[in-house]
Amino acid sequence: MSQLFLSRARSRRLYGALMVGLGGFLLLFLVLPFVALVLDGGPESIVRGLGCALTWPALRLSLGTSLISVGLVVLGGTPLAWWLARSRWRSARWLEILLQLPVVIPPAVGGIALLLAFGRRGLFGEALERLGWAPAFSAVAVVMAQVFVSAPFYLQAAVQAFGRLDPSLLAVARSLGASPPRLFFRVALPLARPWLIGGAAMTWARALGEFGATLMFAGNMTGKTQTLPLAIYTALELDIHTAQALSLLLVAFAFALLLFLRRFNRGPEVARRLAAQ
């Protein structure tokens, strides 16, 4: 009996050591780079890095283009998601999968695809150029690259949000005489709103961090197409502390976004509880 007790205690110790050891290893690995990012070189070098000539044009461009991208994604993505979520058409399911593709392909591949479609020699590029519009390697291309890689995040959140709406609520709304626009604007949209905002926030984070597709399709021109991630790449060749300072800017945005999402995620929970009652 006592031997059983001992072996049980020992196996419990072993279990504890294994769990703490493995988990702790990953935890350290994930946290240490952030520690270095914040502490290395000290605040002075960070301030000096922020004063670099690359910083402000890149920050302005990043904020401007990413916000425009989020706006475009929400504007087009909301109706598309509403249609996808309600469609009984089987092809809609396939379309949904296709629209998730940009999440899993490398962004550089997305950039090549954009170039082949809308570049000067691209499939539609010549037609666009004849209309007097050549988007590649301009600020417009930055937005296009961001929309391409970040839209799936919003679409997925929105399709799920609309798909999760209680079908009997929608049925009741229609039986009461609600026209399609009223059903959408007064019932579906307010009920899905917390998830839509969450999806838009994730889309914004993705657009702000976009690198590969932007580099391929928009290039890396300071003040014109050089967003913060591209500026970090350029700064790395000059001085690592400048790259560090710019990175901290992006980390600060990302962290603020996470805090906002955590606060906001209580929204869906409240809505769920309301719906359950």
Binding site: S168, A171, S175, L176, G177, L274
Partner: protein, 266 residues
């Protein structure tokens, strides 16, 4: 209210959903019809078909002089133009709107001009009519099951419906609330004078609320008739168990006021 002032809802529909086939032919007049059957017998599908939320293969649905659906004439009115009041099992109140806003929603749906203030005022008077004036500003989550059902009924009535469809009206309530809600519903159904279909699992609901019963089995209406006949001679084992477990076996009680009207109509 005399019987001829109540429009008739008549339907003969056929539909297939995957491997499930629904085939129903029913007439509903002044006497509320209870549709009973085991889970998966197609009760809710039947309601959704009447609402226009299920694609039908064949048939016709007519409400008074309005043809809601006719496969031959290619008439298929959208749900929002069928003027049917639908109360789902959990009553379907919009959780993001207060009680009065829920009712005002129905009024706004059915008026040409957008006039929030007037709709709100009218919604208040609907709530007061249903004894809910003091609860107007509450969210659905802050209402009891019985109160929620009253708000849902007030909202349904505010949309000026021509028929009433109830899906398991007492299933989501606790036992105590059921008695109260059943009495309230019985009185409402009687005073509204609309053709009423009620889908239920509950023999007490049938006896309190309906005069006629349709028994559904695997998507088919296997029997339809006055409650007394169906209860006395149940056509399926489900109907047998349903009415056997009821203490009113084989007869309609005449002592409760909710039921007197039903009996008189028989």
């Amino acid at each position: 209210m005399s019987d001829d002032s109540v429009p008739r809802l008549s339907l003969a529909v056929e539909a297939t959903f995957g491997s499930f086939a629904l085939r129903a032919s029913l007439e509903i007049g002044a006497e509320p019809l209870a549709v009973v059957g085991p889970n998966g017998s197609g009760k809710t599908s039947l309601l959704l078909a009447i609402l226009g939320l299920r694609r039908l293969d064949r048939g016709r649905i007519q409400l008074g002089d309005d043809v809601l659906y006719d496969a031959v004439l290619a008439i298929d009115r959208p749900t929002e133009e069928r003027h049917l009041a639908y109360l789902p099992q959990d009553f379907g109140l919009f959780p993001h709107l207060t009680a009065v806003e829920n009712v005002a929603f129905a009024l706004a749906c059915n008026s040409q001009a957008a006039n929030r203030k007037r709709h709100r005022g009218e919604a208040m008077s609907w709530l007061e009519r249903f004894g809910l004036g003091s609860l107007a500003e509450r969210n659905p989550a802050q209402l009891s099951g019985g109160e929620r059902q009253r708000v849902a009924l007030a909202r349904a009535m505010a949309s000026a419906p021509k028929a009433l469809l109830l899906d398991e009206p007492t299933a989501s309530l606790d036992v105590e609330a059921r008695v109260e809600v059943r009495a309230f519903l019985a009185e409402s159904i009687r005073s509204l004078g609309l053709p009423t279909i009620l889908v239920t699992h509950d023999a007490m609901d049938v006896e309190a609320l309906a005069g006629r019963v349709a028994v559904l089995e695997k998507g088919q209406v296997v029997a339809c008739g006055p409650l007394r006949d169906i209860a006395k001679d149940p056509p399926t084992s489900f109907a047998g168990k349903l009415f056997c477990s009821s203490k009113f076996l084989g007869m309609v009680p005449t002592d409760s006021p909710a039921n007197t009207a039903v009996v008189r109509r028989n």
